[in-house]
Subunit: 105 residues, 2 copies
DNA sequence: CAGTATCCCGAAAGATACTG
DNA sequence: CAGTATCTTTCGGGATACTG
């Protein structure tokens, strides 16, 4: 389950229950349409995300976690906690080891 | 913190406390010497893994998690739990969606 | 709005050979 | 045993343009 964006997508969906394509795009900047579409398909392929599209004009598609996708919550939470506590200190260490070239994002 | 192998390396070190180069290689098949060396350097660079080498013949180097590296335990545990519970069912879904070509590893 | 289709490049990583 | 050096390949993912 690689992919640069999957974690962010799932993370967005754990916090919002249901999101549309454009909302997900805004939730995961700066993801491209192409990557968002691809990653969503893969997540759908492993049964973690469900897609519901309405044949209306303008078109509309809702994405949500499946029951199985929701089982990822504890994992996502653990990762988020760790990130909050250690991100900055790790980044400092990485800079000291010249593994990164400071950009303040 | 990308890298195809870092999770496995850290996982091996959470379960074993201290491992030598060759032991880590065996713990993360089929990683190559090159990748193991590189990933270990990066983990050392962010202060998650410590390296202790003994100037003996034959040479010997011990790797272990630092205090900071050990803070990853809850995350690793959460991921491991999830993997145990969902790995097979996810793989099935992925095969059904032809995202993988069965290899029994 | 919600995507697909193409093209392309650079980083990640495999293979192989070598060393103190 | 514990790595490093070099070469080659793969492929993830960005840019851009197009469509129902």
């Amino acid at each position: 389950m690689g992919g640069k964006w999957k974690a962010r997508i799932v993370w967005a969906l754990t916090r919002n229950d249901v999101l549309r394509f454009a909302e997900l795009r805004r939730a995961c900047p700066p993801i491209s349409d192409r990557m968002l579409s691809r990653e969503l398909k893969e997540l759908e392929g492993c049964g973690l995300v469900s897609r519901t599209s309405y044949a209306s004009i303008p078109p509309r598609t809702d994405y949500a976690l499946t029951a199985r996708g929701r089982t990822l919550r504890p994992v996502m939470a653990a990762m988020a906690d760790w990130g909050l506590e250690h991100r900055s200190v790790i980044l400092d260490a990485m800079m000291a080891a010249d593994m990164v070239s400071d950009n303040g994002s």
